[in-house]
Amino acid sequence: MISGLVSRVVQAAVVAILVAAVAFFVLQAAPGDPLSALVENPSVSPALVAAERARLGYDRPAAVQFLSYVSAAAGGDLGYSASLGMPVSRVIGAALPHTLLLMGTAILVSFAVGIALGVAQAARAGTVFDRAASAVSLFLHSLPEFWLALVLLIVLSGRLHLFPGGGLETLAVAHSSGWHWFLDRLHHLALPALTLVLLTTAGVARFQRAALLEVLPRDFVRTAVAKGLSRRRVVLRHAWRNALLPIVTLLGLALPALVGGAVFVEQVFSWPGMGRLVVTSIERRDYALLTGCLLVGGVLVAAGSLLADALALAVDPRQRRANRD
């Protein structure tokens, strides 16, 4: 058991480093470097660009750059972001909590709503309610993230003024209490989170519906009915608990998004998170920042998948006992 966890952690670490390496070299191979945007700026001298390149080490071979990066990263130094002018650790340290907040909220809400909807649909499979919910889900699921975010922004914020047009909080206003501050943060969080919830709930609901429909005809559910249990108890206590494993798996797959952020939603709603960092780092060829984001992301993804494994153990006694024996 313990050795299994350790090997998973090691596995995840190796994967993270490999991903970071691939990203690093691909970005290196792409035209330009963090300073190439200065080429079109007549007020920046080529000498300064060359000197800055040398300072940042971009004149060395990519492999050498990567090795020195990894060795520094092993010591906790994630390097220096040329595009933001500060250490990568500081940039990520600032962005990560924002992304965790947004994605955590979105995942929590979309799983709660998605599971409830999926269970309700499966329990009434084939009814008008089920079909309508499926159709709406499919429609929302197929919407492009960027487009939906913009439409919600334009309509709910721009036209109806129900929500702020972006950012983390109302700027430059002193809140009279912690409660007001909290409400203000919630108000700003609502629209980006809603976008993500609309997009992902459908998937969760479909997953939950299918999983429950697969379980409902099983004999132990009939057994539960035959025992004389109420329908509610049969569906929730017997069938649903056995239809949770696919959802836990789905949750494990969703966790990386916690770290990666929702690129377009963060972009549209001016949410300063990890997704935007990744985009910025690619646009500006910020090797250190991208590699740092991926390394941190890899570590957290590994942690997330361990968490998902732990959850799977919690919902499935078979795995628990199999380990005991």
Partner: protein, 371 residues
């Protein structure tokens, strides 16, 4: 006693079993039970036809009696068993349990009825909730029906486990930690926990090793003797039923085609289908010779059953003729308490003139292959 007067599938008929145990009103009375499953096609789910899984089944079951329900897979026997407990909603027909109209019950009253009628499934593993300890699974029935709670319920669980031959301390284990036979004992304990009067045994031993099958059947027989249980014992194999059933009903394509006491069925099977089934029973003694009746062809689709006698495409009866493909054979009493649906096995209410009019060329004649 209702005299059978029409063919199988006609609504107002059910055979009247005669048995030594018969006394007082039946515990379970099933009349003309029908289950049609719609066949849906296309994205709109239009119904394009029906699978007639059960097409007019009637029987009675008395307290303490075991009725075997036998047939090949897909014949509708399990569907019948589930409709009796309303685990499936019948399309038509009626079910009376202890005089009450089961199909009219709903909500709490239906759940209360279920306390008295339990089911044991074929696959003892899939019928147990993998997320629950077996103790919890057994206990749930006790608490739901307020039979016992707290310490008393725990004690009752342990008693039930030992009653079915399991160690009481197994209560906190999960189903996957047991062998197949043990799981089926758990399933039995679970069914027994609410002290039912009827247990539908849906192929309870088919999934078990032969050596274990006998133990479980013996257990069921012991329990029946001790508690006066009635069993509706569903099996695809006549040899299993032989040991436990008082009477046997043979089903084919949603119809009961023969119903008689176990002794009669095994000694004198009248329906050619029963004959074929019996010849498929493995005989323990290899020196016993038999003329094997071999079923040829596949079971026809219940979505599109053959005309006339549904068995006619596979029938080995030497007098089979055109009339068999036209006339629906009624389930009729061939001898006392022995019902069969075959117009070529005399006596029959379908007279020769009627048969000839339907293209019959061969007069009915008793056929009993040497089994």
């Amino acid at each position: 006693m209702t005299p059978p007067s029409a063919g199988v599938g006609t609504p107002d008929v059910h055979p009247t079993p005669t048995t030594s145990r018969q006394s007082g009103p039946p515990l379970l009375e099933v009349r003309d039970l029908v289950k049609h499953f719609p066949i849906r096609r296309g994205i709109l789910g239009r119904t394009v036809g029906h699978v007639r899984a059960v097409d007019g089944v009637s029987f009675q079951l008395w307290p303490g009696e075991t009725l075997g329900l036998v047939g090949e897979s897909g014949c509708g026997k399990s569907t019948t068993g589930r409709m009796v407990l309303r685990l499936l909603e019948p399309s038509a027909g009626s079910v009376h349990f202890d005089g009450a109209d089961v199909l009219a019950l709903s909500g709490a009253r239906l759940r209360a009825m279920r306390r008295h009628a339990q089911i044991i499934f074929q696959d003892p593993f899939s019928s147990l909730n993998p997320r629950m300890t077996i103790g919890a699974a057994i206990r749930e029935g006790l608490t739901i029906h307020r039979i016992a709670a707290g310490e008393a319920a725990d004690r009752r669980v342990r008693e039930l486990l030992s009653e079915v031959g399991l160690r009481p301390q197994f209560a906190d284990r999960y189903p996957h930690e047991f062998s197949g036979g043990q799981r089926q004992r758990v399933g039995i304990a679970r069914a027994l926990s609410v002290s039912p009067r009827l247990i539908v045994c849906d192929e309870p031993v088919s999934a078990l090793d032969v050596s274990v099958q006998a133990q479980v059947v013996n257990l069921l027989q012991d329990l029946q003797r001790d508690r006066g249980l009635a069993y509706l014992f569903i099996a695809h194999d006549l040899s299993v039923v032989e040991h436990i059933a008082d009477r046997v009903a043979v089903m084919y394509l949603g119809h009961i085609v023969e119903l008689a006491s176990a002794t009669d069925i095994y000694r004198e099977p009248l329906m050619p289908y029963t004959q074929a089934l019996l010849s498929a029973v493995p005989v323990p003694d290899p020196t016993v010779r038999s003329t094997r009746v071999v079923l040829s062809g596949d079971v026809p689709s219940p979505a599109n059953p053959p005309s006339g006698c549904v068995f006619h495409p596979r029938c080995q009866h030497p007098r089979k003729d055109e009339a068999c493909t036209k006339l629906v054979p009624p389930l009729e009493e061939k001898s006392a308490g022995h019902w069969a649906a075959c117009i070529k096995q005399p006596p029959t209410t379908v007279h020769w003139e009627v048969q000839k009019a339907a293209g019959g060329t061969r007069q009915p004649e008793r056929y009993l292959p040497d089994l």
